[in-house]
């Protein structure tokens, strides 16, 4: 049996009245006199109702006595005139403004397939899988808010801009990188400490990635033999990134391997890394500023350093110039005598402002659930005055694989709601459970 379907649905909603007026309250008394307070938000006088339109088309099919089921849906959701409170400058007298911020369009597909390869009197085996993929984009934006940055979790930011894909995250502070020559792309370091040059230039914000998955898949399978059934639920997420604030705190507290050895991308070395770097002989250090800095750090035998370049301090060049000739830059770490060394925890501390150093691929595969159930025969159940009874052995959260290879469940970055999506804030991982379950139906 094959069924084609299609549909258009539209839902609209507005805002309550009395929103665009001041409200008064009483906060407390002062020497016996009541003290009034003023509240109130402001609404765009020309606000329009929000309109949600969904276009959907699909195929439902069922073959071989329902042993093959296949569903396919393609959809587009147009969320127009989205009503939101947008922060505005306080000189207007208010802090936020409720207005039609713009339109978000989501395009996506959903697939579901169920197969029953085996079905006999005693045996039945079924497998089902589903697949979801969507992309949401800002397709229209009130010109008053063109390109507005919104602070998000853990040093990241979101951008309101026409054409922006929903879920894209940026680092508020981008690394200041060389723009040309052989050192193109290298992080530039400060000429007095050898740590990354700080900047919050909006044109230099590093793109962290999109927190939304490329696609999600779910699998379930069930094997039945007489009164026994074995079932399993699995899920797979492909793509998307998350920022781990958990990692920031743990790195800073020295509770991760990374906080000892670096990862080669940002900084090198530590006391456990190749037995530690030896500090160079102070007398051989090429630049006075570097020697003085290293001396102030005590020449401890726990050296680490940032991977990057700095402008040769003996020249007159602007130390933030990103377009100098190759010989104006010195590659930190190349020669012990021109390297800004610091103790490990200092370097780890430098990464605090840079979520780039802790943005990870959120791809994972999980076995969420396995259960083995035995249905107690009705005749026996009837003896204990039950209509039905079953006993199961169940296991939950049995296996996790992450593409990033971290011992951190990427789902913890998406388990909350609202503004913390895509940022893991020390959420506890899901707990593995093993147990028995007795099901009685009266």
């Amino acid at each position: 049996m094959l069924k084609l379907r299609g549909g258009v649905a539209q839902v609209g909603y507005g805002i309550p009245t009395y929103l665009n007026v001041d409200n008064y309250g009483f906060s407390s008394t002062w020497n016996g006199t009541t003290v009034g307070t003023v509240y109130g938000s402001v609404v765009n006088p020309e606000i329009l109702p929000e309109v949600n339109t969904t276009y959907e088309a699909g195929i439902d099919s069922r073959f071989f006595d329902s042993r093959v089921n296949f569903n396919f849906t393609v959809f587009q959701k147009v969320h127009a005139n989205q009503i939101q409170d947008i922060p505005i400058v306080s000189s207007s007298g208010f802090s936020s403004y409720r207005t039609n911020i713009g339109t978000v369009t989501s395009d996506g597909i959903e697939l579901a397939l169920t197969l029953v390869p085996v079905r006999t009197q005693d045996w039945e085996w079924s497998v089902s899988a589903n697949f979801t993929k969507y992309v949401a984009t800002i397709t229209e934006l009130d010109p008053a808010f063109t390109e507005k940055w919104i602070g998000y979790g853990d040093g990241s930011m979101l951008r309101l801009k026409e054409g922006e894909e929903i879920g894209s995250m940026y680092a508020e502070e981008g690394f200041w990188r060389v723009q040309s020559g052989m050192y193109k792309g290298q992080i530039m370091l400060k000429p007095d400490t050898g740590t990354p040059i700080e900047n919050d230039d909006p044109d230099n914000r590093d793109y962290l990635g999109n927190m939304n998955p490329e696609f999600m898949m779910g699998f379930t399978t069930q094997l039945k033999y007489k009164s026994f059934s074995l079932s399993m639920v699995m899920s797979y997420r492909n793509g998307g990134v998350y920022v781990s604030e958990t990692a920031k705190r743990m790195n800073d507290d020295g509770k991760t391997p990374w906080s000892l050895s670096g990862d080669g991308n940002y900084w090198e070395g530590g006391r456990s890394h190749n037995g530690g770097y030896a500090w160079p002989d102070p007398n051989n250090v090429a630049y006075d500023v570097v020697r003085e800095y290293n001396e102030a750090n005590g020449f401890l035998n726990e050296a680490s350093y940032w991977n990057g370049v700095y402008v040769d301090p003996t020249t007159d060049y602007d130390s933030q110039d990103r377009n100098l000739s190759d010989d104006a830059y010195v590659l930190n770490g190349q020669d012990p005598n021109t390297t800004w060394y610091a103790v490990v925890n200092k370097i780890v501390g430098n990464t605090w402002d840079f979520p780039q150093t802790r943005t990870f691929d959120a791809t994972y595969f999980k076995i969420r659930d396995i259960s083995l159930t035995y249905d107690i025969p009705k005749t026996i159940a009837a003896k204990i005055k039950m209509q039905a009874a079953s006993v199961s052995f169940i296991g939950r959260n049995l296996y996790l694989w992450t593409k990033s290879g971290r011992n951190e469940d990427p789902e913890t970055a998406f388990s909350g709601s609202g503004t913390t999506q895509g940022v893991a804030h020390y959420t506890l991982p899901s707990v593995r459970q093993l147990g028995f379950k007795l099901n009685l139906t009266f």
């Binding site: 906060s27 002062w30 020497n31 006199t33 003023v38 402001v42 400058v89 306080s90 000189s91 403004y97």
Partner: protein, 531 residues
């Protein structure tokens, strides 16, 4: 959004039930009218409480007013009045504009029911905050500000000259209204409904503004200044615009009181050496009211073992060495020791405190215990005091801007300030006798403005605004931080406003030249320091 839909649905349901009940609706309307008549009073008391508290807190607590004016030094590793600190733009001016909107809401409500005196009082408070903001930044949103309800969410920045002109006009109109109106002034926590006191407040504020902008206006406001000097002003501490603290909870207690700050706000601020030394040299009786001796002074010069003890502190001696401090300069045998300006990390370097977790330094003088009470008669949330008006007029008379005897105003200013701090009459007379107004214009102006600096202790914002104009006391500019670089004479525009009201902010910056802490705003563009 899901929640939102549910709320809208609920609302529709509620409406359909309540609208059918005509009788209840009428009742509600009656109740609403009663509220309309009482709301202006609550909004006035609210404005008074919030603005007085804000103003006092800034006047005593903000390092960018008080540390730079050397009332105190912070026990922090970084000097809070350094150029680097001033180079950082504040995040926002949301608190200030919220206060301004609160007054605007109060004005709107009072106007709707015709309470003209309440409108006038709210306008005076609004002027105080607009003047404060404009004195800090220069051009700010003013004529188009507070207008978000009408959809004006990106107000333009007005020129400071226009702001000053507008504010002074508003003050004049408020004084006229208060002088001729017959309605009651309810909710007046400040003056108990006494309209004359509000007139004095308005005129005194105008005098402050006229003095501050006298040169910027090119001397064209002389007759206005003379008229204001002859009008009703705050010429007695009884008329001070000051609100007594209740002292029963965090939000109604003195800024540094334990209920509000836990007490640490005071111990980590130490009276600075130049301020303390000046009080000491002049035998100023306010020294004992304001400043307490060090808890554990350096002892006798012969007890050099103290220095040996000091060697035990790992940070201390090392840092002293690195900045080349001479141990001979240590104030052995002195109980009144002000915080030196040259030393960073004062909590470690120049003595010792209670250890980790709190900031203090037992080798330095502190403020007296009245500053850690939740409520004390000497400490009110103050917006304007008689002594400031007197010193304004003393300067004006000395410069020939108004007629009158500079010495009389000068002595009145000292007397009013000392009385305000509870100094005994005899001590005041002794001080006046020993410190008469010197002859010679420069010396006289220096004496007036130095006394004004002392009298503005706990009103640090006014002190900084005045120093930018007059350069007195010169010791402020001798702070090593400002010898090489120009004195920080304004704050940079808040980043939030610049980022989100960019076009208008850029226009203001273009008029200013550049948005730096040393750019000269209009009000100080035409002044020459006294010395």
């Amino acid at each position: 959004m899901k929640k939102y839909k549910i709320y809208s649905l609920l609302f529709i349901l509620l409406m359909s039930f309540s609208c059918s009940d005509q009788f209840r609706k009428e009742q509600l309307e009656m109740a609403e009218d009663v509220n309309r008549l009482t709301t202006p009073a609550y909004l006035l008391s609210g404005s008074i409480v919030r603005i007085a508290n804000f103003y006092q807190e800034k006047g005593v607590n903000d390092d960018k007013f008080n540390a730079i004016m050397l009332y105190y030094q912070q026990l922090f590793s970084v000097k809070s009045q350094s150029h680097e600190e001033f180079a950082k733009a504040p995040d926002n001016w949301g608190t200030e504009y919220k206060l301004l909107y609160d007054t605007q809401a109060g004005i709107n409500e009072a106007e709707a029911v015709g309470f003209v005196s309440t409108v006038a009082a709210q306008r005076i408070l609004q002027c105080l905050i607009f003047e404060y903001l404009s004195d800090i930044y220069g051009d700010i949103p003013y004529s188009e500000a507070l207008n978000g309800r009408e959809g004006d969410i990106k107000p333009k920045f007005d020129m400071q000259e226009d702001i000053y002109t507008g504010l002074m006009k508003t003050l004049d109109e408020a004084a006229i209204t208060l002088g001729s109106s017959s309605d009651e002034l309810d909710g007046d926590l400040l003056f108990g409904g006494d309209k004359q006191s509000w007139i004095r407040f308005a005129n005194s504020l105008k005098i402050r503004m006229l003095i501050r902008s006298y040169d910027a206006f090119g001397g064209s406001k002389q007759s206005e200044l003379q008229a204001a000097a002859n009008a009703l002003i705050i010429d007695n501490n009884d008329f001070n615009a000051a609100l007594a603290f209740e002292g029963t909870a965090a939000n109604n207690s003195w800024i540094w009181g334990p209920a509000r700050s836990g007490g640490e706000e005071m111990t980590r601020r130490k009276p600075s050496a130049p301020f303390l030394d000046l009080l000491k040299v002049n035998s100023d009786p306010r020294l004992l009211t304001w400043i307490a001796p060090a808890l554990e002074p350096w002892g006798d010069v012969d007890n050099s073992y103290i220095l040996e003890d000091y060697y035990a502190y790992p940070y201390g001696i090392n840092m002293l060495d690195s900045i080349g401090q001479d141990y001979g300069d240590f104030p052995f045998g002195e109980a009144y020791v002000g915080a030196p300006l040259t030393v960073a990390s004062l909590e470690y370097v120049y003595g010792e405190g209670p250890g980790s977790g709190s900031y203090d330094n037992y080798k330095l003088s502190s403020y007296t215990s009245i500053f850690v009470e939740d409520a004390n008669d000497l400490l009110k949330a103050t917006m304007f005091e008689a002594s400031e008006v007197s010193f304004c007029l003393a300067e004006a008379a000395q410069r020939g801007w108004i007629t009158g005897n500079a010495s009389t105003y000068y002595e009145a200013g000292i007397t009013q300030n000392m009385e305000r701090w509870g100094i005994a009459n005899g001590d005041i007379l002794t001080y006046l006798g020993a410190n008469p107004l010197p002859a010679g214009n420069t010396d006289a102006l220096t004496a007036i403005l130095t006394e004004k600096w002392k009298s503005l202790f706990t009103q640090g914002h006014q002190s900084w605004f005045e120093y930018r104009r007059t350069g007195i006391p010169t010791v402020v500019g001798d702070d090593p931080d400002y010898v090489a670089l120009p004195f920080p004479s304004r704050w940079r525009y808040p980043t939030y406003e610049v980022d989100n009201n960019t076009e208008n902010a850029n226009e203001a910056v273009a008029r200013l030249g550049e948005d730096t802490q040393t750019a000269k705003i209009w009000i100080i563009s035409n002044t020459t320091p006294v010395k």
